[in-house]
């Protein structure tokens, strides 16, 4: 048994019995981790622009440390050079000077307060770095595939030596700050991976050539950092599959050689990853089925003696529990599931899995980071506000009777939060089922069924908080006047509107929800009117049924309501399914033969269509007047206020829930 920092006994918890493999200790180097859970280092852009740790960053990490219930909680990767060549994110933490130690200590202390193992990470962003400079560093001058990244300046041998020295000095500072575990990041296009990959390393000196030459920098880095780590274990993150075969990247076999060499150099644990930011293949979006990458961990296990950890679409505990039991994995890593719900593994342990807010794998967290914005989460309104008391669910100062009209994601979120605060909450919906239009949205292909998890979560929370449901009930002005609640929250969702062009009144023009519910007959040639997410989801739904679908919409760009880190997936699937899209266009006329569209610059194009499906939404003020006329406090949330997306619905609902 290695050194144990905190005593944990999980044996009396339901999760221990249900997922026995997740709550067994494991030794990493000379340190024993009480369980198999790791919050993996995640950039959050919450630090000050000069790299100092902030209250927001500490609050964020403290909550995740609580979640790992004694496991490993790793702070975001730090950059290590004063010139900021290694910095890849505007709010990335720094460790290039002793002046950063007090802030870093705050993070280590926050993790220790939760009796968890405090991990830190060294991360020179290499090819995707230099965020504040005119260039980035790399082994060879290989052009960037993505325009957002800087031109590469080739590292000399002196630069390499300097970089190694900075890794060592940063490690010393992090150890002084109190961290128990050190990790080196060599993934997704960061510096170490640039040296390892045949795509980006075309050097002819001893740091290039075959895989052993390309690994030399990584090996030296491990060896140098290890010298100062002493008994503190050292981990490394390396790609098991770069997914860069289209540009001459490493083969999976070469990647396994890198794993073996890292172990030989002194790594105590291997974090297995897949893909680069430049890869053209999807890796972690929800169109990739959960567990898809476990074969990489299994392969790594066959090549290594040290423990193997992995994240990458392992969103539910059954998957890693089984994999660990079968010897395919040792440690369950998580980023996004714990961004969505920081206490996720704690709830698994405590047997309250049904109250976990599930990540929808939309990658808005990543999209924000790449656009220099602080971390946020699509479905967790508290994310990055953990430090702010205004976001806490506190008992209401005055109990109210709250009527919520609409049981979609906005209404349900508002309902459970308000009920937890002590209000009497009544939710009404004309439907017989909870979920609003998310029920239909979840029918779209390519993983959109995972969106429904948000309803399952809110349903459970609402039931436990004592929310009263009145399903199949229409709220009329009379009902409002009869009930006279203290507050009305209108969460009725949007209204779906037809266009004004000739032909929109024809029988073959049908609303989106009727199509998704199978209530409307749809011909073989379909025009979907509306080029935002609802239109895209519907188009793919119909295309998968073999229909010939065309998307037409007024918005200048397709899917502008979808975050860029996910939109490319939809664009790809539309292409794969031969769905043409006409953006910035109007429907000029609908006739027997089809539709004539008019592009923004005046060109008219005929499209053959048997059916036109309307997906365009407008705000739904509905009962607003009657509520206000009766002097009742009113809130309008979600699509009823402004048609947007699931995220806005949930965030609206939460914010009004904590305020009402």
């Amino acid at each position: 048994m290695g050194k144990l920092l905190f005593e944990w006994d999980y044996s009396s918890y339901p999760g221990y019995k249900k997922y026995p493999h997740l709550f067994k200790p494991i030794k990493i180097g000379k340190l024993t981790i009480p369980n198999r859970i790791k919050y993996a280092a995640t950039e959050d852009n919450l630090n000050a622009g000069d790299g100092f740790v902030t209250d927001a960053g500490v609050g964020y990490l403290r909550e995740r440390a609580k979640g790992v219930v004694g496991g490993l909680c790793v702070m975001q990767g730090v950059y290590m050079d004063e010139k900021r060549q290694g910095q890849g994110y505007v709010g990335q933490a720094a460790a290039w000077n002793d002046k950063f130690i007090p802030g870093l200590k705050r993070l280590a202390d926050a993790i220790h307060e939760q009796k968890a193992i405090a991990g830190c990470q060294l991360m020179h962003c290499g090819r995707v770095g230099g965020i504040e400079t005119e260039y980035c560093q790399g082994p060879s001058p290989v052009s960037q595939r993505l325009r957002i990244f800087r031109p590469v300046e080739v590292m000399s041998k002196a630069d390499i030596k300097q970089c190694l020295k900075e890794h060592v000095e940063a490690t010393e500072r992090l150890l002084k700050a109190g961290f128990d575990y050190v990790e080196i990041s060599g993934i997704v296009g960061y510096l170490l991976s640039n040296f390892v990959s045949s795509y980006t390393n075309r050097r002819t000196d001893e740091y290039g050539g075959d895989i052993r030459g390309r690994m030399r920098f990584v090996v030296e880095c491990i060896q140098e950092v290890k010298k100062v780590c002493g008994d503190v274990p050292l981990g490394i993150r390396l790609c098991a599959d770069e997914l860069l075969d289209d540009v001459g990247g490493n083969t999976p076999e070469e990647s396994m050689i890198t794993y073996e060499m890292a172990e030989e150099a002194g790594a105590d644990v291997m974090s297995v990853t897949a893909g680069w930011q430049e890869s053209i293949y999807p890796v972690i979006s929800r169109d990739i089925p959960m567990g898809s990458w476990l074969h990489l961990a299994e392969r790594a296990k066959q090549h290594l003696k040290i423990p193997v950890s992995m994240a990458y679409r392992l969103f539910t505990p059954d998957l890693p529990n089984k994999a660990i039991g079968e010897g395919k994995l040792d440690i369950w890593e998580m980023c996004r599931p714990m961004i969505a719900d920081p206490l996720m593994p704690k709830m698994v342990l405590e047997g309250t899995e049904d109250e976990i807010r599930p990540c929808v794998a939309c990658n808005v967290c990543l999209a924000r980071l790449f656009r220099d914005a602080p971390m946020t989460c699509y479905i967790n309104p508290v994310c990055a506000h953990e430090w702010d008391p205004k976001y806490e669910i506190k008992p209401a100062e005055m109990d109210k009777n709250i009527m919520i009209v609409g049981a979609g994601p906005a209404g349900l979120e508002c309902a459970w939060v308000a009920a937890e605060r002590g209000h009497e909450v009544h939710v009404y919906d004309t439907r017989e089922e909870l979920g609003g239009s998310l029920i239909e949205a979840s029918k779209a292909p390519y993983g959109d069924d995972e969106l429904y998890g948000q309803i399952t979560f809110a349903k459970t929370k609402a039931a436990k908080a004592g929310v009263n449901f009145h399903l199949g009930t229409e709220v009329t002005p009379e009902l409002i006047e009869d009930e006279m609640p203290d507050t009305v929250v209108l969460a009725t969702g949007p209204t779906y509107v037809k266009g004004t062009a000739p032909g929109f009144d024809r029988a073959n023009v049908v609303p989106m929800l009727d199509v998704l519910n199978g209530k409307a007959e749809v011909g073989e040639n379909v025009v979907v009117w509306g080029n935002l997410k609802p239109g895209i989801g519907l188009a793919l739904f119909l295309a998968k049924q073999g229909k010939k679908v065309t998307v037409v919409g007024k918005e200048r760009k397709l899917g502008k309501d979808i975050n860029p880190s996910f939109k490319w997936r939809y664009v790809g699937y539309l292409r794969d399914n031969s769905v043409p899209t006409y953006n910035d266009s109007e429907i000029e006329e609908i006739t027997d033969d089809g539709v004539t569209i008019r592009t923004y610059d005046g060109y008219r194009i005929p499209i053959k269509a048997d059916t036109v499906v309307c997906t365009v939404r407008e705000a739904n003020p509905g009962l607003k007047d009657v509520v206000q006329e009766n002097g009742i406090e009113l809130f309008v949330i979600g699509d009823a206020l402004v048609p947007r997306n699931l995220s806005s619905a949930v965030h609206d609902g939460y914010r009004i829930g904590i305020r009402a």
């Binding site: 043409p580 923004y600 610059d601 005046g602 060109y603 194009i605 005929p606």
Partner: protein, 173 residues
């Protein structure tokens, strides 16, 4: 073999869009080339204004065959306004011509123009973008005056690069 008009038109429209984008990219690439060759003492605005002057002289020649004094001053102004609008439309702008308040004036309204977006992409200032366009249009009008012996003027009243949402230019005598 049946013609699929949707397919044919879509292909053409797509190709037009690409060509329009290439024209603008090429302009900014040449601008960069000129600045690099001229060295650090060069002034981007000088280079750009000279370019648009050269372009204006050349483009104006294309309009001469269609300008006709026999249509009268009012007709001439409208024809020239439509020709100026056409230079924008050919580049992907949405431009409309309206009669002005008086008989001898026309308003040309750029409701949408891709040039400022490209200027931003290539790091050129909005001032440079606006003055370049002004120079181009003023040169065409000056060439037309020289050709026909008229005294038409053009002024910019609103400009997208200035944040006005539209470009509004008045062509008048």
């Amino acid at each position: 073999m049946a013609v699929d008009p949707q397919k044919e038109l879509t292909k053409l429209h797509g190709a037009l869009g690409v060509s329009q984008a290439v024209i603008k990219s090429t302009f900014f690439e040449w601008r960069q080339t000129a600045l690099e060759l001229l060295g650090p003492s060069s002034n981007a605005l000088d280079v750009v204004l000279k370019f648009w002057e050269v372009a204006g002289v050349d483009v104006a020649k294309n309009f001469f065959p269609m300008l006709n004094l026999r249509k009268g001053q009012e007709g001439l102004i409208l024809d020239l306004a439509r020709a100026l609008a056409g230079t924008g439309i050919a580049n992907g702008a949405v431009v409309r011509v309206e009669k002005g308040e008086g008989p001898l004036e026309a308003l040309i309204r750029w409701e949408r123009c891709p040039w400022p977006t490209f200027a931003k992409r290539y790091g050129a200032s909005m001032k440079e973008d606006l003055l370049g366009c002004d120079k181009f249009l003023q040169t065409i009008v000056a060439e037309a005056n020289a050709f026909l012996g008229t005294d038409l003027k053009i002024e910019t009243q609103k400009a997208i690069p200035s944040g006005d949402g539209v470009c509004l230019r008045r062509l008048y005598k």
